[in-house]
């Protein structure tokens, strides 16, 4: 098993994104560092547009993630509805 991870700047927008990630990835671990929040999970992690929009209460484009993204690890796949991270095992 390998961990994928994503780190976001600790700010108001990220808070909703993190909430959405936690909801869609119930086993993920959230770690707080100064100014940044890191979420890791075994093998895969998904960020869904629909869930983020629900949390934010507005339209949200998956590419907006770039504004608050610090780093990530894993194979990325992104389309209009979601961004996913995974390792092939």
């Amino acid at each position: 098993m390998s961990k994928v991870y994503i780190a976001l700047q600790d700010n108001d927008e990220s808070r909703y994104i993190i909430e959405a990630i936690e909801e869609d990835n119930p086993d993920a671990t959230v770690i707080h560092h100064p100014a940044m929040i890191r979420i890791e999970n075994e093998n895969s992690l998904i960020v869904k547009r629909e869930t983020v929009e629900e949390k934010m209460g507005r339209d949200w484009n998956v590419q907006e993630l770039h504004l608050n993204l610090i780093t990530l690890g894993g194979n990325v796949d992104e389309d209009d509805d979601q961004l996913s991270l995974s390792w092939n095992v």
């Binding site: 100064p34 590419q63 770039h66 504004l67 780093t71 796949d77 992104e78 092939n88």
Partner: protein, 500 residues
């Protein structure tokens, strides 16, 4: 205007496929002259895919938003005298290393990607390199802007491009990028996009920037994270590039492995400077270098190499050495600079008692045994008025250009020496990794511009060290160099803070 909105995949396809064209009257080989000489075989460029599927319109839109956010913070930082909010004047010295050692690399990356972005036959690769090139230019510009505020209040920031080209320890990062940029375009991508961006830069931009925030440096944290938001894209591309090359042809596998081995080791040597910044230069600590290495290389890199195993790629050579080095490297690097603090463009110091206790806690197997006694001795000598600066110029490793101060990892009391003979000359190395790199391409590394050799050959001005530092490096002696204790930086800091 009534056409339905394209989805992300369609937009990306139009940008990277339909913008390309077949060559009808020009010779394709002449158009892309560097594409074959490295031995890499590309059978189908259309397989190149940016997983973020970023198109130019989206790129400009989001980059503009990032910039607006960033510059609002720079303004706020400057208007509110942000430099007074950092934990301690010592902290700013890490930022001096950043400006003189790292920011010029962003500029080199900008030039490098602009070059290779022209040289690839596939439009997807060209677009990706173009975006990255512009990103890197943005990074160097934002870093200069952020740090220009510190230049108003602290020494050592005034002539960073000049210093980058000449100062002995800055030849370490400079030669790293010179090496990558003078390689072929595919090696450049493995060196920078994969080994540097994907495997190693997290260690510079993530825990160190979190550390900047933890030390009250809003400007640096913000440019760091803003840059890193681009790096996340670069890292992803780095991984895609390597998968692309490995999937194109099986003959690419051993070539790519050789480059991974080389650039992983080059990168770990470069990061020894970041190791000491993390462990010794941040007054408020976030995590130790060892912990950062474990999270960002051993865990994240381990997962990555497990993923690549199906292509026949193995962990980089000498990775087992780094497992031992993480216990030692920051202490040995800071000790080298403490010894040569008179010749550095930033200030040095002995860690405080509390900092030494933190180091003991983080390095239970090595700090008290090998490194605390050195600092206790330095402290005693300083108290007796015998602060010692090494006057002899150090021997440098021909490959990484770091002074030969690193030890055998199985015997940390013995300095490691390796050497190779090539065409009647002897060349010296700090490690098996650096010797191996030289032995693969001796005809390249015999041309290394080694600062100490150049000084001895009389190519750096004056006959004395002082003349070289003052006239050739343009250091303001007595202000930029030596210990923080008694420096003009420290004096000003105390005045601002109202302490005697």
């Amino acid at each position: 205007m009534s056409a339905k909105k394209l989805n992300l995949k369609d937009k990306y396809r139009l940008l990277t496929r339909d913008l390309d064209w077949e060559y009808s009257y020009a010779d394709r080989k002449k158009a892309f002259p560097y594409e074959e000489f490295e031995g890499i075989k590309i059978t189908d460029w259309s397989k190149w895919e940016d997983p973020f599927r970023l198109t130019m319109d989206a790129y400009w839109k989001y980059q503009a938003e990032k910039e607006k956010k960033l510059y609002a913070i720079f303004d706020a930082f400057a208007q509110n005298n942000g430099h007074l909010n950092v934990t301690d004047a010592r902290y700013v010295n890490a930022i001096k290393i950043f400006l003189t050692g790292v920011s010029p690399l962003e500029y080199q990356a900008y030039q490098g990607y602009a070059h290779v972005g022209r040289q690839f036959g596939g439009a997807g690769a060209r677009v990706a390199c173009q975006m990255q090139s512009i990103d890197e230019l943005r990074h160097v510009q934002t870093q200069i802007h952020a740090m220009s505020h510190y230049n108003k209040y602290f020494d050592g920031f005034q002539d960073w491009t000049h210093m980058h080209d000449r100062v002995w320890y800055l030849s370490v990062p400079k030669s790293f990028f010179d090496d990558a940029r003078s390689a072929g375009p595919f090696e450049f991508l493995i060196a920078i996009s994969f080994s540097f961006e994907y495997v190693l830069t997290n260690l510079l931009f993530v825990p160190f920037m979190s550390g900047a925030a933890h030390n009250g440096d809003m400007a640096t944290c913000t440019f760091g994270f803003s840059a890193q938001s681009d790096e996340a894209r670069h890292m992803t591309l780095g991984l895609e590039i390597i998968k692309f090359l490995l999937e194109q042809h099986e003959d690419n596998v051993p070539i790519v492995q050789k480059w991974i081995d080389k650039w992983f080791w080059r990168g770990t040597r470069l990061l020894s400077i970041v190791a000491m910044m993390m462990d010794y230069m941040l007054p408020n600590k976030v995590m130790s270098w060892k912990e950062a290495w474990e999270v960002y290389f051993e865990e994240a890199g381990g997962a990555l190499f497990k993923d690549l195993a199906r292509y026949g790629i193995r962990m980089p050579k000498f990775v087992e050495t780094t497992e031992k080095e993480k216990e030692h490297i920051s202490h040995q690097a800071w000790w080298i600079f403490y010894n040569y603090g008179h010749a550095a463009g930033f200030h040095t110091w002995i860690p405080s008692d509390e900092e030494m206790d933190w180091l003991s806690e983080k390095y239970p197997d090595t700090f008290d045994k090998y490194y605390r006694p050195r600092w206790e001795l330095a402290k005693k000598m300083e108290a007796e008025g015998k602060r010692f600066y090494s006057q002899a110029l150090p021997q440098l490793c021909t490959t990484c250009q770091i002074p030969m101060g690193f030890t055998e990892m199985d015997d940390p009391t013995q300095i490691a020496y390796r050497s190779s003979d090539y065409e009647g000359e002897k060349y010296h190395f700090c490690s098996d990794g650096c010797k191996h790199i030289f032995d693969q391409e001796p005809e390249k590394y015999v041309q290394s511009w080694l600062p100490v050799h150049q000084i001895y050959q009389g190519n750096c001005g004056g006959a004395s060290v002082e003349e070289v530092l003052r006239d050739y490096y343009k250091l303001n002696l007595g202000a930029d160099n030596l210990d923080i204790k008694g420096s003009p930086d420290e004096q000003r800091w105390k005045e601002w803070k109202g302490v005697a």
